[in-house]
């Protein structure tokens, strides 16, 4: 049997043996990762995997499995075992049949752009990024380059037979000018032509050079200019917790806020996997439903949660094409641009703090949005519209909803961000937030 016939074969088999609904997803993935530190490559890695996800229901009873692609006989045993488990499983909250196709998909989303996995080419990208950072004054760099190619084949009992190819390149580079002064930036693209490792290296190097000789920062509430890495971390949290599953389980500060003004009216957040060649492009979700452009926040008003068919039924709405079979999730987040340049945003701040990166975001309460996160890499005091000095050792300790409401300005320039701290590709501007609370160690 050909590999691309396996999902439909399993769907038919499970239906014959008693399942009422079946989803089978086969992912065939090649992934190269090159890691570097101290301006040298420390390890090159190649991953080659074929994985099958099977999700089946016998009405309201359901079970799922992830297994390696293997022989027909072994897959048959897997299906039998899964059916056995489903039969003795206590029923879940409600039975929602899978969406019924066939569906038509945008053909431009189904084919991938060409991305080379040739080692020499990828090593060349790493070299470019490192040299660009060093040219800006960095002493050492560290980071990761990822190159991926993936074929996804989906079959469901709802008459879905679909496949999509995707590819991507991403580099994350951190540059240091001393032990305590650094800069970080990324380049990600679903298209090799738009991949720009040199620019990522240059930006990281420039921030690191400006961050030299940092002084200890003072805590308090300040107007803050947040760079794309920081705002991507914050706004991707908003995207993540717009999942109806997380809303239902007390893991979202967006619960009970549909239709409410939750952010400044300049902020609009969209999940849009239908952009050709974007990193998070996706033609169909894990139930086979065509993806679409979903407005999560429009001019500060929370418009929609993200749904699969089960959460949609519970909420009395249509699926948004964001399945996850258990938990819906965003694919490709976009913050609508503002009208001002970075320079104009900076010029308008009399006294404040510019934060270029953060990490380690943790909540005190997911429901209320109380959290803290730690600025890392270049952080600068702003005086009279200009960067005045490099500072360090502060923490952002605030509330998500408070920050969203206190957004003052959004830049017109935006960057696609994805790295270790930000899972979902996010097109992110600079933003200005008033009264952002910074704390620091007391001893």
């Amino acid at each position: 049997m050909r590999k691309d016939e396996v999902p439909s074969y399993i769907v038919d088999l499970a239906l014959k043996r008693g399942a009422t609904d079946v989803v089978v997803k086969l992912q065939d993935k090649q992934h190269i990762m090159i890691r570097f530190s101290n301006n040298k490559v420390t390890v090159s890695k190649y991953y080659d995997e074929s994985v099958i996800d099977i999700f089946l229901m016998i009405k309201e009873k359901r079970a799922a499995t992830t297994v390696p692609l293997s022989s027909t006989l072994k897959l048959e045993k897997t299906v039998n075992n899964l059916l056995k488990i489903a039969k003795i499983t206590p029923p879940s909250e409600l039975y929602v049949p899978l969406p019924e196709g066939p569906f038509s998909y945008d053909p431009t989303l189904l084919k991938a752009s060409r991305v080379s996995l040739h080692p020499d080419r990828l090593i060349g990208y790493v070299d470019e990024a490192i040299n660009s950072a060093l040219e800006e004054g960095a002493k050492k760099t560290a980071g990761t380059l990822n190159a991926t190619k993936e074929k996804l084949i989906l079959a469901t009992s709802g008459n879905v037979h679909a496949s999509q190819e995707s590819s991507g390149l991403e580099i994350s580079i951190r540059a240091f000018t001393s032990e305590v002064s650094s800069g970080h930036f990324v380049s990600i693209s679903g298209n090799e032509e738009r991949f720009n490792p040199s620019e990522a290296g240059r930006t990281a190097g420039r921030i690191a050079a400006a961050a030299l000789n940092p002084k200890s920062g003072k805590p308090g509430r300040f107007t803050a200019l947040l760079g794309p890495l920081v705002f991507a971390d914050l706004i991707s949290q908003v995207g993540r917790v717009s999942s109806a599953f997380l809303v239902d389980t007390g893991q979202s500060f967006l619960a009970n806020k549909i239709g409410s003004q939750i952010a400044c009216d300049k902020l609009s957040l969209i999940d849009d996997p239908t952009i050709v060649d974007s990193y998070g492009r996706r033609a169909f979700d894990d139930e086979g439903v065509p993806t679409r452009r979903n407005i999560i926040i429009e001019k500060g008003i929370l418009k929609s949660y993200l749904h699969n068919s089960a959460t949609a039924k519970k909420y009395g709405v249509e699926t948004t094409g964001n399945a996850g079979l258990i938990s819906p999730h965003p694919w490709n987040l976009i913050v609508e641009p503002g009208e001002k340049s970075f320079g104009e945003l900076l010029a308008e701040i009399d006294y404040g703090i510019y934060v270029t990166n953060d990490w380690y975001l943790r909540y005190q309460n997911y429901n209320t949005g109380d959290f803290s996160t730690i600025p890392r890499d270049g952080m600068f005091l702003i005086k009279n519209g200009m960067l005045s000095s490099s500072i360090r050792e502060l923490r952002i300790s605030d509330n998500m909803l408070h920050i969203l409401k206190n957004i003052q300005e959004i830049s017109k320039t935006r960057t696609w961000i994805r790295w270790w701290e930000v899972d979902v590709p996010t097109l992110t501007p600079y933003v200005v937030v008033k009264d952002l609370n910074f704390t620091k160690s007391t001893m």
Binding site: Y46, R362, N367, W420, S441
Partner: protein, 476 residues
């Protein structure tokens, strides 16, 4: 699988590698998710495959495949080799492996009760019963459990590790874990949340010992009381007693991570970060003489248990901080070679398709000689922080913040009223230097430690006894 793993190793060596390593790993896992008291799904997963690491002229290549044919394994070795060779000389970090003594043999952890002998329905019912206990305890206080996710994981890990310099270790390890996020709500008081993990190495007998229904009842009761009775937070200078849950986390975050030699070498600089320590920090005082921080993979039944690491080096207890002084770093064979020492068996990989990197196992503060009562009775005016929700630490592992969840005022040696969200935001040396007494009763918690790229969330225990800190400044 032995034959295929051996084939992978032989083929990798035949390519001309100065070092080669082949690892077969199979993880078979069952996950039961309960959402707000109702079963959400049962998930069965099998992740298995072979990885090879090859060292060619000091350049390290790694490749993995889950297609278990000789052709695919050969292809993986060729790819690892080609990737290693593609790095031109000036861009190449010269990697080597130390001369550690390597293990051979089979290590099998045998559960008393195989978790596969318990059917899914019984497991789901145990979770439902526990949820109901929580719901009832909260309702008795007129509190609603407004959200609850419980995830019960049971899995078996099989590893077969072979290296070109003689390691040949086969291990079988069963693990169990429960992760929970519990939300309590009161219309006037708002909401409060508690997240916790339980975990161990072994079988169903561990889950029985947890007594989940009673545990959930207690957790819901505590959350209810915090919501109803906790007063505003206390800030400013005071004495503080930290419970084992916090002490364990602090040991892990501010002592374990900075001691990882790959961080010291900058290997994680763009991801999990660096460390405030450097290669010359052995002998540096970072805390009071009462502070002894240990990492020990060999603790029986522990979540981070292993007897040989993923490079075939025998595991042993590591004393990271001895009497307040940095004593030892965590090493794999690569970092040990750079530091001209021997690996202390800290190399771990979470799955077949992840490279082994320097990791903690079970990190804890060694107990002292104070009883819990003695610790409290010498405090006239202070705060006891028993559990936490929010925490984080900077990437040099020096500035950290822990926000208390269950916390109390101490007056004249007695716990009085509950206090809300005390904030301990301090430096690593500031915190460890303020320790003036250490309790004698050791407790552990489970956690998944995140590090590496791709991310590897690896099972660990964190632990310690109660600890007393003098003249600490609590934040706003």
């Amino acid at each position: 699988m032995e034959e295929l793993t051996e084939f992978a190793l032989d083929y990798a060596e035949s390519l001309g590698a100065e070092y080669a390593e082949a690892r077969f790993q199979r993880d078979i896992q069952e996950t039961i998710i309960l959402k707000n008291g109702l079963l959400e799904a049962v998930l069965l997963e099998e992740h298995r495959g072979i990885s090879v690491r090859i060292l060619v002229n000091g350049s390290l290549g790694f490749a993995s495949t889950n297609n278990l044919t000789k052709k695919d394994v050969k292809d993986a070795s060729n790819r690892a080799y080609k990737m290693a060779c593609a790095v031109k000389k000036g861009l190449r970090e010269k990697v080597s492996m130390d001369e550690s003594e390597l293990g051979t043999g089979k290590i099998e952890v045998k559960p008393q009760i195989d978790f596969n002998s318990i059917d899914v329905e019984s497991k789901a019912n145990l979770l439902r019963e526990s949820y109901k206990e929580a719901e009832e305890a909260a309702a008795n206080n007129k509190i609603e459990i407004s959200g609850c996710v419980m995830t019960l994981d049971t899995w078996k890990t099989e590893k077969l590790i072979m290296t070109s310099d003689g390691a040949n270790v086969h291990s079988l390890t069963p693990r169990v874990a429960l992760s929970t996020l519990l939300t309590a709500f009161h219309p006037q008081k708002g909401s409060i949340q508690r997240s916790f993990d339980l975990g161990g190495t072994g079988g169903w007998e561990i889950i029985k010992k947890w007594n989940l229904p009673e545990l959930f009842k207690q957790e819901a009761q505590t959350l209810s009381e915090i919501l109803l009775f906790a007063k505003e937070k206390i800030s400013g200078k005071t004495d503080v007693i930290l419970g084992p849950e916090l002490v364990g986390l602090i040991c892990h975050e501010s002592s374990g991570h900075p001691s990882e030699a790959d961080r010291i070498l900058g290997r994680e600089a763009a991801q999990a970060g660096e460390t405030y320590l450097d290669s010359d920090s052995i002998g540096l005082r970072v805390g009071s003489p009462l502070v002894n921080v240990i990492d020990d993979p060999t603790l029986d039944g522990s979540f981070g248990f292993y007897m040989y690491d993923d490079e075939g080096v025998k595991a042993r207890k590591r004393i990271l901080i001895k009497e307040g002084i940095i004593n030892e770093f965590l090493h794999n064979r690569e970092t040990a070679s750079v530091f001209k020492t021997k690996s202390n068996g800290s190399s771990r990989a979470v799955a077949f398709d992840r490279e082994p990197i320097v990791r903690m196992a079970n990190t804890y503060l060694e107990p002292g000689d104070y009883s819990k009562d003695e610790l409290f009775e010498e405090i006239k005016d202070g705060v006891y922080i028993k559990s936490f929700m929010e925490w984080n630490i900077d990437d040099r592992r020096f500035n950290q913040r822990y926000v208390g969840l269950e916390a109390y005022k101490i007056e004249n040696g007695e716990l009085t009223e509950r206090v809300r969200n005390p904030v301990l935001e301090v430096t690593t040396t500031g915190l460890w230097s303020s320790v003036d007494a250490v309790g004698k009763e050791l407790e552990f918690q489970a956690a998944y430690c995140g590090k590496g790229d791709p991310m590897q969330g690896i099972p660990v225990w964190t632990g310690g006894p109660h600890v007393r800190l003098r003249s600490v400044i609590l934040g706003e």
